[in-house]
């Protein structure tokens, strides 16, 4: 079992390497020398040179110990992301943005998971009936509406027209009031695809022989569902749930932008608008690291939940 964990750990190294390679290729090679853009409109050669030196852009790309390539790696591994366009250290921006982002995504995540797993159990219970088909229709509909529209409709009707929630983030209000609407919208938008997925998982389990045996033995549907189906369906559920966690940190780009919540998503959108390569590069790297870490956690969870994995 420990060999499994060690093997998985070792495998993360080439992945992290790959991600750094990717960000390097994107932002340093293809992106090119951005010192001119950082300097702004009219500027002297001296300013450009200073900027170059500070960002390390005057070093050769690959072929020396002090090349941009090597520095990229060194910086990333020590979480030194340099400065953004507006000269604030990137790491500070990130630290500032995590709180608000999590304030939205954590409740949203919990809400979606709890509601969709419960709903899918209920649907598995009423499988084959009209309610089941209705649920599928609602889910597919929900999946087909673009996320943007969800947000806009929600913002327009619930906040603007009916005044139930604040339209925009304001520091005077408590955090709870500020994020209530984004969280609600996020949950509503996310339910469609999730319920559909869990429904499929549950139904697949229901079709297996041991469930049929359980029903034949005369167990009540509740018992079968909770004691047998849910436990065995845990593998795909855990996969999906745990792998959704890294995305929490990114904040919802769109939700934050619409509601003006100063989180990481908002940071990203701004960075994209101003072509702020250091920020985008840093965020990409961080997301990937989180993803890799949580993949590892997922695999370890498999070990705990599914005895068959332990025997491999």
């Amino acid at each position: 079992m420990s060999t499994y964990i060690i093997r998985r750990l070792l495998y993360t190294i080439p992945i992290v390497f790959g991600v750094l390679l990717l960000t390097f290729a994107l932002f340093n090679v293809v992106g090119g020398d951005i010192s001119f853009e950082i300097a702004g409109g009219t500027t002297t050669q001296q300013t450009i040179d200073e900027i170059r030196q500070e960002y390390g852009l005057d070093k050769p790309l690959f072929l020396s110990w002090d090349s941009q390539f090597v520095n990229h790696f060194k910086n990333a591994l020590t979480f030194n992301f340099g400065r953004a366009r507006d000269r604030e250290p990137v790491i500070d921006k990130i630290k500032r943005g995590i709180g608000p982002s999590l304030a939205i995504t954590a409740p949203m995540f919990l809400g979606v998971v709890l509601i969709s797993v419960s709903l899918s159990l209920v649907i598995a219970f009423v499988r084959g009936t009209m309610w089941d088909m209705l649920a599928v229709v609602v889910c597919v509909t929900g999946m087909s509406v673009p996320y943007l529209s969800f947000i806009l409709f929600g913002q327009y009707f619930l906040a603007y027209k009916w005044g139930l929630f604040p339209v925009f983030f304001s520091p005077d209000l408590s955090m709870a009031r500020n994020v209530a609407l984004p969280v609600l919208i996020g949950i509503a938008a996310g339910l469609g695809g999730n319920v559909r997925f869990y429904r499929t998982v549950m139904l697949d389990e229901m079709r297996s022989d041991y469930v049929r045996t359980a029903f034949a033995k005369g167990l009540s549907p509740q018992r079968v569902l909770f004691k047998h189906v849910l436990k065995n369906a845990m593998t795909p559920i855990i996969t999906r749930v745990v792998l959704a966690i890294p995305f929490l940190f990114l904040g919802s780009l769109l939700l934050e932008r619409f509601f003006g919540i100063p989180g990481l998503g908002y940071l990203m959108v701004e960075a994209i608008g101003s072509r702020d390569y250091p920020v985008i590069s840093a965020m990409t790297y961080m997301s990937a690291i989180l993803f890799v870490v949580f993949n590892l956690i997922t695999d370890i969870c498999y070990l705990l939940v599914d005895p068959r994995v332990r025997l491999e």
């Binding site: 991600v19 084959g128 943007l148 529209s149 806009l152 229901m206 959108v269 997301s287 890799v292």
Partner: protein
């Protein structure tokens, strides 16, 4: 009942494609009709839906109906090109990795694992931002080209994984072993024997992915990374952000409706395809099971 829904969906999808193709041709030959005339002022600024303009007009007085129709061209084209790119990359890589295994396979798995570590939207955004003002081989990259390149270059992972898994499963089937035993060249095995047998996966994946490509294009346009001078659904929704507070709801409604209909049709059709190709994946439940 499901059959009818699937066929209806196919009809809708065909209609969208036909519209997109039609607008392409119309632009190429410079015909002056409906959607190509989207720039023309069709009414007062911000006039609500009425007799002249079924969907109303936007801030410039342009007909929202025409803009919506034009948006179809952009979305469908982008999604189609992105699909082609991702299939062109993903299928060969998956087949090669799955068939040859060993070092080549390790490399391919490494590549797609790396790419899939970064959240999808973030990856697309990163590519789109970087590709935006570059030129490749002397060609200046316009906004929309960057969009479908970005989407295509990042979305091949899913299909690659699928194909690779299937190829690995098929590799030990008798017909492949037979082909090897009579000296079939490896390339021939892959292209003439393996690929046709796994291609149904490509088609299913394609129809389901198309939806996410359209949505990705909408988000990119919304964030300003798409085509700047042409109407697109994402840009229309972006305009709607400020318009809504002035009570102008029709532009957003039109764009949302257009996106919704094609997404719904693609979802239904994709499901129907999947059900018909592989009954094991069926999600419809028979009574008594």
């Amino acid at each position: 009942m499901e059959r009818k829904a699937a066929v209806a969906s196919l009809a809708v999808i065909a209609a969208y494609f036909a519209l997109a193709g039609f607008i392409h041709i119309a632009e190429a030959f410079d015909w002056q009709i409906g959607p190509t005339l989207w720039r023309q002022q069709a009414g007062e600024s911000y006039s609500p839906p009425g007799a002249d303009n079924i969907f109303g007009t936007d801030i410039f007085g342009q007909s929202v109906l025409r803009k919506t129709l034009y948006g179809a061209k952009i979305s469908i084209t982008v999604a189609l090109l992105a699909s082609l790119i991702s299939i062109a990359i993903g299928v060969p890589l998956g087949a090669i990795g799955g068939y040859f295994r060993g070092f080549v396979d390790e490399i391919i798995v490494w590549i797609y694992s790396t790419l899939s570590s970064v959240p999808y939207i973030l990856l697309i955004l990163a590519f789109a931002v970087v590709l935006r003002d570059r030129s490749i081989f002397g060609h200046k990259l316009t906004g929309i080209t960057a969009v479908y390149l970005a989407i295509g270059l990042t979305s091949w992972v899913g299909i690659c994984r699928l194909i690779r898994g299937e190829v690995i499963k098929h590799k030990n089937r008798e017909y492949i072993l037979a082909a090897i035993s009579y000296g079939c060249s490896r390339r021939r095995i892959i292209f003439r024997h393996l690929l046709p047998n796994v291609f149904h996966l490509v088609i299913i994946d394609f129809s389901l992915r198309f939806v996410s490509f359209i949505h990705a294009e909408v988000i990119l346009s919304f964030l300003g990374l798409g085509e700047a001078n042409r109407p697109s659904w994402g840009a229309m929704i972006n305009d709607a952000r400020t318009e809504l507070s002035r009570g102008v709801w029709w532009q957003m409604a039109a764009a949302t409706a257009a996106i919704f209909v094609i997404s719904l049709a693609l979802n239904i059709f994709g499901d129907a395809l999947r059900d018909s190709f592989d009954p094991k994946l069926r999600t419809r439940v028979e009574r008594g099971s």
